[in-house]
Symmetry: C2
Subunit: 364 residues, 2 copies
């Protein structure tokens, strides 16, 4: 059974879907692994290391001609045409409905395992690439914020006076947000975090940050789950209270994204105008429009004296570890998909496991 | 008495010699403060804040025409020609012998207070800009290292396996080196540090890092201060032992500089060749030739799979705090230089204080 690992061709992408460490394990199981020449170089994994791990190196045509293709980013339609009829695709699909890629995949009758469809169960956690890559994004985005900010993150006491810790606000306490909180705390910042889900507050506190609780005034203290029962007046008060918290921040790291939908606006222009000049906003939702409407995807811009960082691929900036985690996620998924019998490795039907059953898709 | 604060014109310079906070204090003492328009903008201090603090804003000609000029970087000769005859210059001079700048300064009969000449006494510590800026460089250079490195600095434990902490070696435990150690430790790296002075080892340990002690073998255990009495054989053994430590590092931050001299080579090319691909060297001695001969000043290059960062002005990348600390250093120095009598502020003779006496220089 042949596995192909192509070079990623999206601009700025530096990751690779598997590493020499993981390739060695696959080869040990009796799998034939082909890696495209140069596929791991930008992530710090030279061709020689794959060869040493037992992989064969080949051209693009050779690696796509496999039973399973392991990818990070969605391939180009012309790459899909190199794939075997009925082969399996494991990787992000980044598709929001019909498009040329899906048509090409349909024509090849591929069996798709889009990593976006990984169930969010504890059993699937070790295969959850969305989660591993988000964690890396949260760490790297915080380094970006610290590097772009003209002041210290930690408190500094020197003989020429002291510097207060930076006031950092993290919006969204999902995987990326929690890692951003942890990293900013490591660097000694004064971290505040907001998430609509009250159950995140304990996690935020356990990382040494303060959960932002918005004062809704008396009218917000109604019966029932308050988030659902807010009056328009209370909502407006909530927005105003959040705006006040954001305007006081020196650094905002914002992480609110909804798959295949425009990101919600959490930082309106009026808030940016109120921020102190020299402040920094790192907008992890830049690719889907941004949590701040002033963010420009893939650019760093200055508006009202505030630096807005719109980078869209933080994992590619930490490509060695991002690839290592991704490769392990895929290896764990492959465990469910391949059984090794007396006659060598065999593909299991997707229906044989609840995780592969939940993920599998055809392009039609 | 008039103080002038010009805009810094060196390429890439973003600092300013005084901040609104310090200007306010100077104005309160009865000094007339002129700030060049836009001088603080890149450091996050808008003109309006200086005006609000009591400064006047003016053109270059106006701010140089003052009793005291506060600068960060050495001025251009044509700027010196705008200065009053016999005026005082407070700032870095960055001069290594005769040059066009010194000739221009001599022609204006300036009284120079080059900050490089600040005595290294505890009384002078609050005026030591070399030290405050080195500390900022150490912090910011470490963020640069973490951002350029393709892996995590901290240990990471995830459901898809773990990542070991980065092995960081800091060369030189002066002000910059100690701050680099502290910052890399904050980020969770496994930090090792080398300095020829054994008295630094305790400081290194107190920051949670391991001092690198080189095994000199039996012949190194001779009588007397061993650093001075090393045989050629022991020296070679010492270099080989350091090379082994460096080759195992994933990140090296190197800080060994000697004023007006070529930086010592601590990381020969052979060591870079032995480092793991994807490793990072941040060379703070880049401006004076680098501690690694492969470093290119003001550039980021890759050699033998290793990224070499040759940036030469880290304080300018943290311009807001760098300027704030610098401005306070200068304010403390001004305290020694100006006395406020009944008839307003008066300049004291440099000889009146041991610090100004030690610093003062004429260009001749």
């Amino acid at each position: 059974m042949k596995i192909g690992i192509p070079l990623e061709r999206r601009p700025g992408e530096a990751r690779v879907a598997s590493t020499p460490e993981v390739v060695r394990k696959l080869v040990t199981k009796g799998l034939e692994v082909w890696v495209e020449e140069g596929a791991g170089v930008r992530a710090g994994y030279p061709d020689a290391d794959y060869a040493e791990a037992g992989a064969s190196l080949g051209a693009r045509e050779t690696v796509y001609d496999a039973d399973l293709v392991l990818k990070v980013r969605r391939p180009e339609p012309d790459e899909v045409e190199l794939m075997r009829r009925g082969a399996r695709y494991l990787g992000f699909l980044e598709s929001c409905g019909e498009d040329a890629l899906l048509a090409a995949m349909q024509a090849r009758e591929l069996l798709l395992f889009p990593l976006e469809r990984m169930p969010r169960t504890s059993r699937a956690q070790s295969m959850d690439a969305l989660s591993s890559q988000s964690s890396i994004a949260g760490y790297r985005a915080t380094l970006e914020a610290a590097s772009r900010y003209g002041r210290f993150f930690p408190m500094m006491m020197t003989s020429a006076g002291s510097a207060k810790p930076a006031r950092v606000v993290v919006l969204g306490a999902g995987v990326a947000g929690l890692q951003a909180i942890a990293t900013a705390r490591r660097l000694g910042a004064d971290v505040h975090a907001y998430d609509v889900r009250p159950e995140t507050h304990e996690q935020i506190r356990s990382l040494g940050a303060r959960p932002i609780e918005l004062d809704l005034g008396e009218s917000g203290a109604g019966e029932g789950g308050y988030a659902r029962e807010l009056s328009d007046e209370a909502k407006a008060r909530q927005q105003a209270a959040l705006a006040d918290e954001l305007a006081r921040a020196q650094v905002i790291i914002t992480t609110a994204q909804i798959p295949c939908r425009q990101a919600p606006v959490l930082i309106p222009e009026a808030v940016v105008e109120r921020m102190r000049p020299g402040s920094v906003i790192v907008d992890l939702a830049a690719a889907s429009g941004g949590n701040c409407p002033l963010t420009v995807a893939d650019e760093v811009v200055e508006r009202h004296g505030v630096t807005l960082v719109g980078l869209t691929n933080y994992p590619a900036l930490l490509a060695a570890d991002a690839s290592a985690f991704y490769a392990r996620n895929l290896a764990n998924l492959l465990e469910l998909m391949i059984e090794t019998g007396a006659s060598g490795p065999q593909l299991r039907a997707p229906a044989d496991d609840e995780i592969t059953a939940a993920m599998v898709a055809r392009a039609d």
